[in-house]
C-alpha cells in the first residue's frame, strides 16, 4: 500500500515522515519517533494511557491514524516540562500529592489534566473527576490524582493549595 507523507509538530518540533495509512498515531509516536511517554494500555480506546494533546483536544492516540494527524500540533508528556527543565505544575502536583504508584497511567493523566486546566483553570472536584473519566488508574483509587490536579490548579492560579478535609 502506498505510503503517505505526513508533517506534524510534536512537542514543538516539526516532524516529516512517510507512513502507511494504517499506522496508528500511538505506533508512529512510539516506534518511529521514539516518544514512549504515551503508553499502550488497552488498545480499545478505554484506558486513556495513550492520551496526547492534539490541536487543543485530548485524544486517545490508539484510535487515530497518523495520517489523520497530518498538520497537527501534538504534545505528549515529553513536552510538559518547562523550557528550563523545571517540572510543569501538574508534574510537580503528581509528585507532591503522590498522584501515582506504578506510573503507567501517569503520562496520559497529566496530558489529559493539562487540557482540562486549559479549559477550566478552577475546576471543582466533580469537574476533575468528570474530566479524567476517560483515564483509568488501577493503583491509586484516584483520590491523590484529584489532589495532584487541584495542587496544579492552585499553583497555576498563584493561590496556596489547601487540601480538603477527608
Amino acid at each position: 500500500m502506498a505510503k503517505s507523507q505526513v508533517s506534524m509538530k510534536v512537542n514543538g518540533k516539526t516532524v516529516d515522515a512517510l507512513v502507511e495509512p494504517r499506522t496508528l498515531l500511538i505506533h508512529f509516536l512510539r516506534e518511529d519517533l521514539n516518544i514512549t511517554g504515551p503508553h499502550i494500555g488497552c488498545e480499545t480506546s478505554h484506558c486513556g494511557a495513550c492520551t496526547v494533546d492534539l490541536d487543543g483536544k485530548s485524544v486517545k492516540s490508539c484510535t487515530v491514524f497518523a495520517v489523520q494527524a497530518n498538520g497537527a500540533d501534538i504534545r505528549t508528556i515529553e513536552g510538559m516540562a518547562n523550557a528550563d527543565g523545571t517540572l510543569h505544575a501538574l508534574q510537580e502536583g503528581f509528585r507532591e500529592m503522590h498522584g501515582l504508584q506504578c506510573g503507567f497511567c501517569t503520562p496520559g493523566m497529566i496530558v489529559r489534566a493539562y487540557r482540562l486546566l486549559q479549559e477550566n483553570n478552577s475546576p471543582s472536584e466533580e469537574d476533575i473527576r468528570h474530566g479524567i473519566s476517560g483515564n483509568l488508574c488501577r493503583c491509586t483509587g484516584y483520590q491523590n490524582i484529584v489532589k495532584a490536579i487541584q495542587y496544579a490548579a492552585a499553583k497555576i492560579n498563584g493561590v496556596p493549595f489547601q487540601e480538603a478535609a477527608e
Binding site: 500500500m1 503517505s4 494504517r22 496508528l24 478505554h46 485530548s58 484510535t63 487515530v64 473519566s133
Partner: protein, 288 residues
C-alpha cells in the same frame, strides 16, 4: 492491534467526497471521528480498502439557527455540542445527552453525524433525534435528499443511507421556549453503552401536557420512538396512573437482547425506569 491496509483519501468538499465514495464502491468507507470505525478495523471486523476522511470538508462543521430549525453539520463533535451556547439555550437536551456519551477524549473526536449515521443501536443520539423529530440531510453523487430520523433506522447497523451517500447535516425543529427535557441513561460505567436510556421532550400548558415525545436507546435492534406512550401522556397532568400506563406502552415496544448488560426483561424494565425518571425531570424543568 493493527488494522488491515487501506488507501487514504482526504476530499475537500461534499461533492468530491460523495463522488469518491460512489466511484470506489463498496470497499470504501467514510471516516468521521473514527471512534466506532477504527476500533472495528483494529479487530479486523471492518476491512475497508479505502477510507474517505471527511475531516477536510470544511462545510460539515457548524451549528446554526435556520428559521425555526437548528441545523448541525455532521462533523460537529460531541465536545462542540456540549460547548455550544446556541444549543445550551435552545436545545439543551443535546448537551445533556452528549455529556453521557463515552468519555472526554472520545467526545473530542466523536461526531454527531457518525453517531447517528452508523446505525449502532447502542449510540445515544439516534433516539434523541427520533424524540426531537429531526431530519437527516443526505448527499449522494447525483442528488441530495432528506430523511426523517424516525424513518432512518431499519436494523442494527442498517439504515436508509445508500452506498455512496453521506449524511451531511441534522436538522432539528427547535422545541418551544419553556419546554421540559431529559435524557436518562443507565450504564454500568463511564464509557459504556446504555443498559437502557430514555429521551423526553414535553411542553406543559395550564398544568397539562400539551405535547410529549419519547425516544428509547439500546433496547431493540434500532432506536425507538415511543409514539403511543407520548400520546397517552398528552392532555394528562402526568399523574401517577397515566405515567404508569405510558411507561407500560413504552416497555411494550422494546425488544432488547440478553447480553452482558443484563437479561432482556431487566433491560425492558430499566427502559421503563429511565422513562419514569426522565418524565419527572422534564416536568420539573418545563414552564407552566
Amino acid at each position: 492491534m493493527i488494522p488491515g491496509p487501506f488507501a487514504y483519501h482526504r476530499p475537500q468538499s461534499v461533492t468530491e467526497a460523495v463522488s469518491m465514495l460512489s466511484d470506489l464502491g463498496e470497499d470504501a468507507r467514510a471516516l468521521a471521528g473514527g471512534h466506532s470505525l477504527i476500533p472495528m478495523m483494529k479487530l479486523r471486523l471492518a476491512t475497508p480498502a479505502h477510507l474517505v476522511d471527511l475531516a477536510g470538508v470544511a462545510d460539515l462543521k457548524f451549528i446554526r439557527a435556520d428559521g425555526a430549525d437548528i441545523v448541525i453539520g455532521a462533523m460537529t463533535t460531541q465536545h462542540e455540542l456540549i460547548g455550544s451556547d446556541l444549543l445550551t439555550g435552545k436545545l439543551p437536551l443535546l448537551r445533556e445527552a452528549a455529556l453521557v456519551i463515552a468519555d472526554p477524549q472520545v467526545r473530542y473526536a466523536g461526531t454527531l453525524g457518525g453517531n447517528v449515521a452508523n446505525g449502532d443501536p447502542g449510540n445515544d443520539m439516534p433516539a434523541v433525534m427520533m424524540c426531537l423529530g429531526a431530519t437527516y440531510e443526505i448527499a449522494g453523487k447525483s442528488a441530495r435528499r432528506r430523511i426523517p430520523a424516525r424513518a432512518f433506522y431499519q436494523g442494527a447497523y442498517l439504515t436508509a443511507l445508500e452506498a455512496g451517500e453521506i449524511l451531511t447535516a441534522v436538522r432539528i425543529p427547535a422545541p418551544p421556549a419553556g419546554h421540559g427535557f431529559a435524557y436518562e441513561k443507565l450504564k454500568r460505567k463511564i464509557g459504556d453503552y446504555a443498559t437502557a436510556a430514555a429521551a423526553v421532550v414535553l411542553s406543559m400548558s395550564g398544568g397539562r401536557v400539551a405535547a410529549c415525545s419519547i425516544g428509547l436507546t439500546n433496547v431493540a435492534e434500532t432506536p425507538l420512538w415511543a409514539e403511543e406512550a407520548g400520546k397517552i401522556l398528552a392532555g394528562s397532568g402526568l399523574d401517577a396512573a397515566t405515567v404508569k400506563q405510558a411507561v407500560a406502552a413504552a416497555e411494550a415496544i422494546t425488544a432488547p437482547a440478553t447480553d452482558a448488560r443484563g437479561p432482556a426483561h431487566y433491560r425492558t424494565k430499566m427502559a421503563g425506569v429511565m422513562l419514569t425518571r426522565a418524565l419527572a425531570r422534564a416536568q420539573a424543568r418545563a414552564g407552566a
